[in-house]
Amino acid sequence: MTGEIPLSRRQCGSCWHFHNDAKFLELAFPGLTSLSSGYGSARSDDGICLRHDKYLGARCVCSDFTARPTEFDTAETAADGTSQIGEAATT
């Protein structure tokens, strides 16, 4: 599957395991809002990879890339009330 996707689309920013929403990061990193923010420029578009438990840039690539689900898949997951993300993103 990944072979059909161009390299630029196989970066972490497009991966199911990668999460870089500012609000998500502020919840995942306790204390971040005390002296900083998830919405600042210095953070750029970095996020958390739940597959490797790393904090890294959105333009990284790796062999475990999993394409983000389509809008239909996402809606289906949300309708279930749970998702891989909701369960895994714990601190």
Binding site: A28, L35, C60, T74
Partner: protein
């Protein structure tokens, strides 16, 4: 273990690029800060002033005096509150926050800020060391750690947004010529201290057996700009997910302690205001924490407890911290990303560091700070000193300064209100030791440079 509940379709934020202009709070701080400055100038050019809305509590010695002030000016405070609420709501809504949660939260913040501001204007306040930045921080810490406040109220406690907006406004009160004159020394001093501090933390951390990426994350937190630098470097080098929260905890503990300690140590040493501000600029880690300490020291100068002026402490601090340290975060990230990918681990993230990262991580609010300074300096250049003091200061500069003070009080109070010590990640002995070693070296080197090597420069800042 805290479960993080976020809607799946919000977890992947779109790539920033030019969308940064409305998706990053740095840019919103520029729009708000510069918007206020331009509006103030438009009123000034039309022969009016924004002074009416930039109301602040006056000096008082008895409660009836204070009551009379509020009775005479309550409409100004209401309008000011609504104006702040409108502009902050607009910005935070664009950033994706919930406006309905923000409104009651900001009302709470504004009322508490007003009380603290008024307390700071009591003529006996300095007798009891009731400096507004310290009182705001202490009150906030009591609320968040002892009394307890609902989590949803955090919507209005945007420390970083308020400090960035305040720093853009601060630019309007700092002559651009002073930035040009004192900037090189600030960059030199800050660079020396930053590099030494980073190397000490990194060296001690790796000797204690910590991972190189974690050591770099901790090092940047102590050397550049605190929590923001720590997470920027954590992302640049691909640190483990749990490294960033530990670095955040370590920075917060040191930064909050130093807010209360540094101004009084500097006072004990009788450092002139500019020298004390420069020392705080090299020794504090986060912008917000450092500004709380610098403003406290500036207030001490304003009361005559130390030599110099209040502005000297703030200006020296800002030059060192913002111009000397913050603006280099992108370069730190770029260089460390190269080291991480070429030396530490060649293949794991498959990432090639890009020079463009220097720009993407650049703290953009600094652009607003410089533009505000340039604008007011150009406006002022056509006036003699006497006319400047008589016309420009009261009608244009002073109201901007008053609004800046408000933004800073919102920030200082928010630091306390969002710092819940029991919720922070455990710092761990080794990371704390490594960071502390760097912080102590930082304090010593910063003191030598500020109070001995460059003392005449900082003592005479702005004269």
């Amino acid at each position: 273990m805290t479960s993080v509940e976020v809607q799946p379709d919000r977890l992947i934020a779109a790539p920033p690029r030019w969308r940064e202009l409305w998706l990053k709070e740095d840019w919103w701080a520029i729009w708000l800060g510069l918007g206020i400055v331009v509006l103030a100038y438009a009123f000034f050019a039309a022969g009016a002033s924004i002074r009416w809305i930039a109301v602040t509590p006056e000096k008082w010695s008895t409660l009836p005096q204070l009551g009379a002030h509020f009775a005479a000016n309550y409409s100004r405070y209401i309008v000011q509150f609504l104006a702040w609420l409108a502009v902050f709501s607009l910005a935070l809504k664009a950033l994706g926050h919930n406006a309905r949660e923000f409104i009651p939260s900001f009302l709470f913040l504004y009322v508490l800020s007003l009380v603290i501001f008024a307390l700071g204007q009591w003529d006996k306040a300095n007798t009891y060391n009731l400096e507004p930045p310290l009182v705001a921080l202490a009150v906030g810490l009591v609320f968040s750690n002892l009394i307890g406040i609902p989590r949803w109220l955090d919507a209005g406690f945007r420390v970083e947004f308020y400090i960035k907006t305040g720093i853009v406004l601060l630019g309007a009160t700092l002559p651009f010529t002073l930035i040009v004159w004192a900037g090189p020394a600030a960059i030199l001093q800050a660079s020396i201290v930053s590099i030494v501090t980073f190397l000490v933390i990194y060296w001690v951390a790796t000797r204690l057996g910590l991972d190189k990426r974690f050591a770099a994350t901790l090092g940047a937190g102590g050397a550049v700009c605190g929590v923001s630098a720590a997470i920027a470097i954590a992302g640049a080098v691909g640190a483990k997910k749990q490294d960033a929260p530990i670095a955040i905890t370590t920075v917060i503990i040191w930064a909050v302690a130093m807010i209360f300690v540094l101004p009084f140590v500097a006072q004990y040493l009788q450092l002139p205001a500019g020298v004390g501000g420069a020392w705080i600029g090299t020794s504090e880690f986060a912008d917000a924490a450092g500004l709380a300490a610098a403003q406290t020291y500036g207030n001490l100068a304003g009361h005559g407890a130390v030599a110099g002026t209040s502005d000297q402490a703030i200006f020296a601090y800002t030059l060192i911290k913002v111009v000397g340290r913050d603006v280099w975060i992108g370069i730190w990230a770029f260089v460390l990303a190269i080291v991480a990918t070429t030396q530490w681990e060649r293949v794991e993230t498959g990432r090639r560091p890009e020079a463009a990262e220097i720009w993407w991580r650049f703290p953009k609010f600094v652009i607003g700070f410089l533009l505000a300074s340039l604008l007011i300096t150009l406006v002022s250049s056509g006036y003699s000193l006497a006319d400047y003091n008589k016309a420009v200061v009261p009608s244009l500069v002073a109201p901007i300064k008053d609004l800046r003070t408000w933004a800073f009080i919102f920030c200082f109070l928010s630091i306390g209100l969002t710092t819940r010590f029991r919720e922070l990640a455990s710092a761990g002995k080794k990371p704390f030791l490594a960071f502390s070693a760097g912080a102590i070296v930082n304090l010593i080197v910063g003191f030598i440079l500020s109070a001995i090597v460059l003392a005449p420069h900082w003592e005479n800042l702005g004269h």
